[in-house]
């Protein structure tokens, strides 16, 4: 189901196209991902699990979980949430591992013919952190290449219809969707952004492998800033793999990027800011939100976010959790249950909720594969989201010249992601092109702003995490 109107967004739908799904024609619009177009046409099952053949739908919608893999034009294991639908495409449900028809021989890509891209600074990820890094590195003269896996630039900002918090200096009061455009307009001439270009590996120091136009490219960069963001956590519960159980970010992507309704009635799990904001955005799109359940005794979201949802009549049930979800081939409902003070389910308090969508908003985890591959010293810091690379105050990891910024360095928010990106960009360019008073002043200013942002009670967790991180760093 496609939305024809939305209070915040206008969807300029692309040219109508038709592709086939298991031989059946599907109407879509240019610019829609295959997974979004299939969802709009009512197809939620995209694949089947390898061992038990259980139906699978998408979960993250940002290329991070692989549950949407299908066979497209004969090629198996295509992440259909990241590939745009095209006229005449042959899309098929994949059974098993998938098989390549024309197996490439080792001679298909001889190494000497692998195209080489050279730059001063390579940025991985064009979210608020990556874009800010690019702006500031280029401002002081570095040539910057930004690699972005998605078809669109802006990271998580492209689906955030709400006005942002923070201070005016960091675009507070501006809608997330408009912040991305503001950042893009600040990019210098010496920045090039390559979309649909995932970075797939870190090799020799200063070398990355990227895929562009179906070809492997080598990237050689003097400094590398990785701002790959985060992925959503799953929740262990019976039938959590049923199509219709989605991450909150995926629901946002469907509604706010593609204008496709995730379902008719939703249960939200998790009352942090993201859960509460996405529940509100679902109402705006016309989805009925049955309730928000939260295992903690308190609501984690800001009071103002919770209040705007409550006055619409949506209950937020603290000390409640989802016990199971059920349905024939896709979600038809969920059972929720109350928890006692020791987090045990209280028998007899089960309640069935009819819904076709279950939205999980139970935390994010930094996307850090590149740092592991590069051999960075890592630390497990729950306050910052889990495994993260140990870094210094200017975001440089233990591998010289390799930086981290944004959600990949700690799960926080866009304002801090932008500040961290600036810091990394400034430090990288300082080392490449030399320092100046202006640069030093900016660096100090950015650091102060970061500290100020984290000064309040909601910054407590981050401050603790940062402390632990510094302890880890001093042990290196």
């Amino acid at each position: 189901m496609r939305l024809d109107q939305h209070p915040i967004l206008s969807f300029d739908r692309g040219k109508p196209i038709t592709f086939t799904f298991d031989g059946k024609p599907v109407n879509a619009n240019e610019g829609e991902s295959i997974a979004a177009a299939l969802h709009a046409a009512g197809y939620k099952t995209l694949s089947h699990s390898l061992k038990l053949g259980r139906p699978r739908g998408f979960f993250c919608a940002i290329g991070k979980c692989s549950s949407c893999m299908m066979q497209v034009n004969g090629i198996p294991n295509v992440k259909t949430c990241m590939v745009l639908a095209e006229e005449g495409m042959d899309v098929r449900t994949q059974h098993g591992w998938g098989e390549l028809k024309n197996k490439p021989s080792s001679r298909t890509y001889p190494r000497r013919e692998m195209p080489l891209l050279e730059t001063d600074v390579a940025v991985v990820g064009a979210g608020p952190a990556g874009l800010s890094a690019a702006i500031y590195a280029s401002k002081f003269g570095a040539k910057v290449l930004v690699f972005e896996e998605n078809t669109k630039v802006g990271g998580q900002l492209i689906k955030q219809t709400h006005m942002f918090f923070g201070s005016r200096d960091h675009h507070a009061g501006v809608r997330g969707i408009d912040i991305g455009d503001k950042l893009i307009s600040q990019l210098g001439d010496n920045v090039e952004i390559m979309t649909e270009t995932p970075v797939v590996g870190y090799y020799a120091p200063g070398e990355l492998a990227v895929i562009r136009d179906h070809r492997l490219h080598r990237v050689r960069a003097k400094k590398i800033i990785v701002a790959t963001g985060a992925s959503e956590n799953m929740l262990a519960l019976p039938n959590n793999d049923l199509p219709g159980v989605y991450g909150a970010g995926a629901v946002q992507t469907l509604m706010n990027v593609y204008g496709v309704l995730p379902g008719k009635r939703m249960l939200m799990v998790g009352a942090g800011n993201i859960g509460v904001i996405v529940a509100y955005q679902a109402l705006q799109a016309g989805v009925d939100v049955a309730a928000v359940v939260e295992a903690l005794p308190v609501i984690g979201a800001y009071q103002v976010h919770a209040s705007k949802l409550r006055r619409c009549g949506v209950p937020i049930l603290t000390r409640h959790t989802i016990q199971t979800t059920w349905g024939d081939g896709q979600v038809e409902g969920a059972t929720i249950v109350r928890l006692d003070d020791n987090w045990r389910q209280i028998p007899g308090t089960e309640q069935d909720i009819a819904c076709d969508t279950i939205c999980l908003s139970v935390g994010l985890k930094p996307t850090v594969e590149i740092f592991f591959q590069a051999g960075c010293s890592m630390a497990k810091i729950p306050e910052l989201g889990g495994d993260i690379p140990i870094r210094n105050e200017f975001m440089e990891t233990s591998v010289e010249g390799l930086y981290v910024a944004g959600d990949a360095s700690s799960i926080e928010e866009a304002s801090s992601a932008m500040l961290e990106g600036r810091l990394a960009g400034l430090d990288a360019v300082e080392k490449l092109k030399g320092s100046s008073d202006e640069l030093q002043e900016l660096k100090n200013h950015v650091k102060e702003s970061l500290d100020e942002l984290r000064a309040g009670p909601f910054g407590e967790k981050i401050r603790q995490g940062e402390k632990k991180l510094q302890e880890e760093a001093s042990r290196l």
Partner: protein
């Protein structure tokens, strides 16, 4: 523990309410934002500088009800949708409440609607007196509802009949 932490909405005791004397002078903004969060667009929004946040951006906003002239600019600028414009001088028995409303379709002037309180519970009927929606408000229209005077600090949302 403050009750808003598990119920999600504020009780009237949590909110700084203008005096009846101030209410009698005309429209005034009421800010329902009581937590230390890193946010401050309201302070820039007010042309009369009636809203201030002392020191850290994490402090809560204060409003000087005597400086506020009820222009309503701040209502559409607050990312928390937490500011309401109350005018207890609207009628003999009635007041108006201006509230941010980011939903479609927008109600029509004169339309009767079901009133909702902070918890989303129904609390009577009211009438739409105005819908402000300028370009500067950037897609956060403000809907004004006429309600019984004694409901002015209770009603915070509404539901349209035709759905």
């Amino acid at each position: 523990m403050s009750s808003y932490l598990n119920q999600g909405y504020l009780d009237i005791e949590d909110i700084t309410v203008p005096t009846e004397e101030r209410f009698a002078k005309g429209a005034v903004a009421v800010i329902e934002c009581v937590q230390n969060i890193p946010c401050n667009p309201c302070t820039d929004a007010c042309p009369r500088k009636a809203i201030t946040i002392e020191g850290s951006i994490n402090n809560i906003p204060n409003i000087d009800f005597d400086l506020c002239n009820g222009c309503g600019i701040c209502v559409a600028q607050c990312p928390g949708l937490a500011i309401f414009l109350i005018d207890k001088t609207f009628g003999e028995e009635t007041a108006t409440i201006g509230m941010p409303y980011e939903f479609l379709p927008l109600p029509e002037k004169g339309e009767e609607v079901t009133l909702l309180d902070r918890a989303g519970n129904e609390c009577g009927r009211g009438r739409v007196t105005n819908v402000r929606n300028t370009k500067a408000m950037d897609r956060t229209p403000v809907v004004f509802l006429e309600v019984d005077k004694d409901a002015a600090m209770r009603v915070r949302f509404f539901r349209r009949d035709s759905k």
